[in-house]
């Protein structure tokens, strides 16, 4: 094999701490290498053209690029090789940026290490073989997991693009957090007026199949052909029959059920529909509070239901959906602020969360849009807002900024003034983060037009005094300690990964960060892709995001899915395992260990042998390291290839 080596400067990213010319020079001595050069930006157009020219000029049949991580540009350079007429697998990368130039400044050591990495890559390349993809058909339907605004947008865009969509939502209604909001920044238009029509579209769209009150149980398969088991949780109501008339709710005598939709500001009936615009509008029984289920009494709902929809014996049901792609849009949850003892730890009824406040402000909320203190129902005059509660706070393990709370706090001060003209809002903030279009103007308006009193500093404690709460904080700009006698305190609680996000990530085989937010494929280049082909992200599940950003990402994910499905056939990854039938003794060990059931037993002239089903094999190589005969080898990562790398650095 004639190998060409290209050592990239990446501007000064690599060249700054690696002598790329010296690396190229050293490479010329390595076995198989017939050509080596350094290049300014290997991935740029001239860079790629240079590679193609060299392949032609020097009749190269293998290429090593020493540059950034293969996770970034391996696909780029493989395409370059193809354009030059070479098989894409006759290519190796040496990661001399992320693994060398960026982690140390010792130029001598870096240069030497870079040469070493090239030597390893070249040694492996000598053992590489051309590999060829097979085509397989795609199931052109998509599953969207999570029906918040991001999931709704992704589902509608896909459905409008002609795809069949399965939308899975764990609550009884879609809408997510946005359905709970009163008005939204920066326009202060009514949240349900914006979201409501979209939710109706979901309900009516012929291409969307909605499974509400459902969760993902198990995920099998791979891009183009996922097989997903969905659990439809028992609602004790036959939803095919239920018309959402609400008679049962009206008559149910059990009134103390937890009202999650209203953020526990009120209680609800044991059988309930979370809000009038719910989609789907179906009743569900909370078994913990139902007297029939708990004590075998009552049964009123069953008597009054005109559709005979009540079914106290209903069980969870499992169904299987086959789709070609998945969009995860499971959103966020709120930080549990009660860890802050200094804010009362949940003991003071008039210290509430921002989302509870939204419910209070909402005309469809428990107080019908009137702001009332939970303790005594009085209208508050002095309202204190505390920002960054459970955000930007290392001591509670939440060092990140939640992104949207500065903005919604400003919104809430504006709404407070609208609701109670003689009220005064006070906002304790550390910084105001409002970098969107018309955003900073918005926070300025809260101060300038609505008279919100912004105080730069944190609050150290809240304590009750008579009817009120004393909020003690600092005004760091004034250099003083300040106290406010507040009627109501609203905490801008931060966002955290939604409950169960990590479990879902494991099922989907995608990565998540230290806080449980899903990891994108690349922070800049693949913001909606994941590391698992065919799985995309939308909305706050990837990190805190406001509505415009969530919607944008929903659409972006949908366009990725539509792009994927624009082909009828997908090319399989040829980096799969292959059994050498002569060496295989039919022991079956590989069959047992393969996590994907990709190996089956076959009969070969009366002998048992193993055989890999190419489309199912994911290329993990577990079988390869299990086989006692070395009979099953993962292509592109064979024992010989890996040991060639080992020997390149150790054996001389």
């Amino acid at each position: 094999m004639k190998i060409g080596v290209f050592v990239c400067h990446c501007g000064t990213n690599i060249e700054g701490t690696v002598d790329t010319a010296a690396v190229a020079a050293a490479s010329r001595e390595f076995p198989g290498v017939v050509f080596a050069t350094d290049t300014m930006y290997a991935c740029s157009e001239p860079g790629q053209d240079g590679i193609i020219e060299a392949i032609k000029e020097h009749k190269l049949d293998g290429v090593v690029v020493a540059s950034c991580t293969p996770r970034m540009h391996e696909p780029t350079f493989r395409r370059t090789l193809e354009r030059a007429g070479l098989n894409r697998y006759l290519f190796e990368m040496a990661n001399i940026r992320e693994h060398v130039s960026w982690i140390g400044k010792d130029r001598e050591a870096n240069t030497n290490k870079s040469a070493d990495l090239v030597r390893m890559a070249a040694a492996k390349l000598l053992k590489n073989r051309p590999l060829f993809s097979k085509q397989f058909p795609v199931n052109k339907s998509v599953m969207v997991v999570g029906g918040g605004v991001a999931g709704i947008q992704a589902a509608l865009d896909c459905a409008n693009g002609g795809l069949k969509v399965v939308l899975v939502e764990k609550d009884t209604t879609i809408g997510g957090k946005m359905a709970k909001l009163d008005k939204t920044f920066p326009t202060v238009d009514c949240s349900s007026c914006v979201l409501g029509p979209l939710m109706v579209d979901v309900a009516q769209h012929p291409n969307i199949n909605l499974h509400a009150y459902s969760e993902i149980e198990e995920v099998n398969g791979y891009v183009g052909n996922f097989e997903i088991k969905v659990k439809k949780k028992a609602s004790y109501v036959d939803w095919d029959a239920c018309t959402g008339c609400g008679l049962c709710v009206e008559k149910c005598p059990s009134r103390k059920a937890t009202d999650f939709f209203n953020e526990k500001l009120a209680t609800t009936k044991a059988i309930n529909i979370p809000f009038p615009q719910a989609i789907p509008k179906k009743a569900k029984i909370d078994p913990d509070f139902c007297m029939k289920i708990q004590k075998d009494k009552c049964g009123v709902c069953a008597k009054v239901c005109p559709s005979e929809a009540i079914d106290f014996t209903q069980k969870d049901e499992f169904i299987t959906e086959n789709v070609g792609a998945v969009v995860a849009a499971t959103g966020f949850d709120l930080f549990d602020w009660t860890v802050y003892g200094q804010y009362g730890g949940g003991k003071y009824p008039d210290v509430i969360t921002s989302l509870q406040y939204e419910r209070m402000l909402s005309a469809s909320g428990p107080s019908e849009g009137h702001i009332k203190r939970p303790s005594d129902g009085k209208e508050p005059k002095n309202v204190v807002f505390i920002q960054c509660v459970g955000s930007r706070d290392k001591s509670v393990g939440r060092p990140y900024c939640s992104g949207f709370c500065c903005m919604y706090t400003a919104k809430q001060t504006i709404l407070t003034k609208d609701h109670i003209p003689d009220s005064q809002s006070h906002v304790f903030y550390m910084d105001i983060r409002s970098p969107g279009k018309l955003y900073d103007e918005f926070t300025r308006r809260a101060m300038e037009e609505y008279g919100a009193n912004y105080i730069r500093g944190r609050v150290s404690m809240i304590y009750p005094k008579g009817d009120n709460l004393v909020v003690r904080g600092a005004d760091t700009l004034m250099g003083a300690q300040v106290e406010i006698d507040a009627d109501l305190v609203v905490l801008a609680v931060g966002a955290e990964a939604s409950v169960g996000a990590t479990d879902l990530a494991k099922k989907l085989r995608i990565s998540y960060d230290a806080y449980g937010f899903f990891m994108e494929g690349h922070p800049k280049l693949k913001p909606v892709e994941t590391n698992t082909a065919g799985v995309y992200l939308a909305g706050a599940c990837q990190g805190p995001k406001d509505i415009p950003a969530s919607v944008a990402q929903g659409s972006a994910a949908a366009s990725k899915v539509l792009g994927l499905f624009s082909q009828d056939m997908l090319a399989s990854d040829p980096q799969v395992s292959v059994v050498d039938i002569k060496r295989c003794i039919g022991c079956g060990k590989c069959i047992q260990t393969c996590p994907f059931g990709a190996i089956k037993e076959i009969d070969f002239r009366g002998m048992k042998k193993a055989d890999v089903i190419e489309t199912i094999c994911q290329g993990c190589g577990i079988c390869t390291s299990t086989c006692p005969q070395g009979a099953v080898q993962l292509q592109h990562f064979t024992d010989n290839q890996i040991l060639a790398e080992v020997n390149a650095i150790c054996r001389f």
């Binding site: 991580t69 990661n95 140390g104 290490k113 390893m120 020997n647 150790c650």
Partner: protein, 154 residues
């Protein structure tokens, strides 16, 4: 020269593509400074790592081998790292029998987001190997013998 004589020792890392290789990239993106000794070999999954690779690497002259994969339960291929753990645990117990200091081999879990953790792992392991110094070379028949023993045992 493969390593800078006197400054570096031969340390080989086997990293899974999805988690630890990503974690090492994240460390790079974060410019988390690390010792220069380590040379990384990328494998799809820690389950791809045959314990014999490690033995062969050590016999071939490496002074240390570091294996890193996804955290238990986070494996991209669902359970590869469980196989890895079982095999590597075994290996760790066998190394001393073969006359290899078990401290020359370490396996750990680093996720793609844990750049900082990767920096710590590399730094600590490199220091550990420098404390042990260059490995005594096992050569010729002796090496063959060891390899055979291992092959039988693992």
């Amino acid at each position: 020269m493969p390593i800078l004589e006197g400054k570096e020792l031969r340390i080989v890392g086997f990293l899974c593509n999805w988690c630890s290789y990503g974690g090492a990239d994240t460390a790079g993106v974060g410019r988390f400074k690390q010792p220069t000794d380590l040379r990384v070999i990328k494998v799809p999954c820690s389950g791809r790592i045959d314990p014999l690779f490690i033995v062969k690497t050590l016999l071939a002259g490496a002074d240390g081998v570091l294996v890193s994969g996804c955290h238990p339960r986070d494996c991209h291929y669902t359970e590869g790292n469980f196989y890895a753990r079982r095999r590597l645990e075994m290996l760790k117990r066998f190394l001393p029998i073969m006359g290899i200091d078990a401290k020359r081999f370490e396996y750990t879990w680093v996720s793609a987001s844990e750049g900082q953790r990767w920096q710590e792992v590399v730094t600590k392991f490199t220091e550990q190997i420098h404390e042990l110094g260059a490995a005594p070379k096992i050569v010729g028949a002796e090496a063959e013998e060891t390899l055979k023993l291992m092959e039988a045992a693992l």
